[in-house]
Symmetry: C2
């Protein structure tokens, strides 16, 4: 019998009921359920608290921690020796890319402005830009931006991928000084690391042409909030932010009131479809684990 | 020498300056320019007035009327005998599809709702749907909906095309009763004809599941406005409308104030990129005409 611990009662129902599987429910708050010491496979809560060392110590035979997020930051220094950490790569890609495209197209086609006119019952035609022939710079060449590029290309955008190191079809961050001045939009979908923290600073933003759109569906601290506030509140740049720094954004933060900025509360990956895909990943991982096969999405030091 | 009449001074500059071409500027308002009687090729104003018979009578050697719109309705009974009518098919497809996708994704991902929270400085996470596995019904199987389908498929939507008559990969309107009850969204991108006027009526809307999204980037009268008002103001359905009936929508029309409805003022095709593409089409058509080649986008009775 394989003992699995999932964070919520609703997750139990999503896993196939099988005689060779015991499913416990615990998110590390409150008392641990009976049998927690048998846990071999832990599914961590999505965007919940990281299990503290005492909670993990209650699971002495733990072998796998499966996250449902793509980001692994807060867990990295908590994983007990010998335990394998897997992330949720792939299950959020579609919905995060979808939100990036929704936000980018909304700003490009002036939907917030038309929305303000709508409140006043005002039919005011004005021409906006469209993507045909526009250059879009995609920072991060993973699943999310691959999908963003596929969707934007349908409308004639010319997409350029940028990552830490150049490779086939991907430019290096060193080439940003040439790419940014002709970028109609920049989409951030890359992990937060010491190298990417503050990457989008005042100088980065100053290199963008007037009216350019910054989209951040990655992590808030990749962008220097004060620099972005200056460039958007002046009206020069536009931004769609699903993530902010700090997060949650305090209700009196001036960024909320900038009309060139559209903010959603970190909901890129968290959709109803996400839970279905997440539980499907967990099911597949459990079968691999039971068969002794190599797990998917194993997080290594180089992530 | 080929004499062309374009609607605006800015169009003159967009056409190559050539010794074998004379370019006049007239949109049928005010006095006709000198030489108007030599006009062989007329470029009609985009979304402007249709030339009246007296204006057309000033061009006795006219051979071609080139529209910059996809729709031809108001011109059909004005074309003098022997004159060829061409439309702007293709030049709006990208930007109209782009707006349809922008509106659909905005509603699906609750951007208007998050926008209202933004005004209040409120960080309120809530899960929305995403397109993964969702059924989308596309009425009209032309350039616009082909692009809409290509973009939505990137996010896992299952798209079904519907047109008047079934053909390979396209269902017939007779199959709508089976398709509508499982449609997460319906996108209208088809011409207004006597067959499509009022097609989306109370019965059509009633067949859609709760929370379904109607997108209209075609023509307002395809939808029964009162029926749509009832189904959206009750909160049951959502709609993104770039076209309305009547149009412009009067400022006191109740549709403006429905929070489930997002309205843009018929700006699907009218973007800055559109003008560039339109003038490129005109240039190509002029070269075909000068060479005696078959013109593109000729409007026949069956349109």
């Amino acid at each position: 019998v394989l003992t699995v611990c999932v964070p919520a009662e609703e997750d139990r129902g999503a896993l196939a009921d099988r005689p060779d599987r015991e499913v416990l429910v615990w998110d590390s708050s409150g008392a641990a359920p009976a049998g927690i010491e048998r846990t071999q496979f832990l599914v961590a809560p999505y965007m919940g608290d990281v299990f503290d060392p005492a909670a993990l110590a209650a699971m002495p035979v733990l072998e796998v921690i499966q996250l449902l997020s793509a980001g692994v930051g807060p867990w990295l220094d908590r994983v007990p020796p010998g335990v394998t950490l897997c992330n949720g790569r792939g299950i959020h890609g579609g919905s995060t890319a979808e939100l990036a495209v929704a936000g980018l197209l909304s700003l490009l086609r002036a939907l917030p402005e038309f929305g303000r006119n709508q409140v006043e019952g005002r039919w005011h035609e004005r021409w906006t830009d469209d993507l045909d022939g526009a250059e879009v710079v995609l920072l991060g060449a993973g699943d999310i931006n691959q999908r963003v590029a596929a969707a934007l290309s349908v409308f004639g955008a010319r997409c350029t991928f940028v990552a830490r190191t150049a490779r086939d079809g991907v430019c290096s961050v060193d080439q940003l000084p040439e790419l940014l001045p002709r970028a109609r939009a920049v989409v951030l979908a890359l992990p937060l690391t010491e190298a990417t923290r503050g990457l989008v600073d005042a100088r980065f933003l100053a290199a963008l042409p007037d009216q350019a759109i910054l989209v951040n569906v990655a992590r808030g601290p990749i962008v220097d909030t004060d620099a972005l506030l200056a460039e958007t509140s002046s009206g020069r740049l536009y931004a769609f932010l699903d993530v902010t720094d700090p997060e949650p954004l305090p209700s009196d933060h001036p960024l909320w009131q900038v009309s060139n900025v559209l903010i959603t509360p970190h909901v890129g990956g968290g959709t109803r479809g996400w839970h279905r895909r997440g539980m499907q990943l967990v099911s597949e991982q459990l079968e691999r684990y039971a068969r002794g096969d190599q797990l998917r999405n194993v997080v290594t030091g180089e992530y």
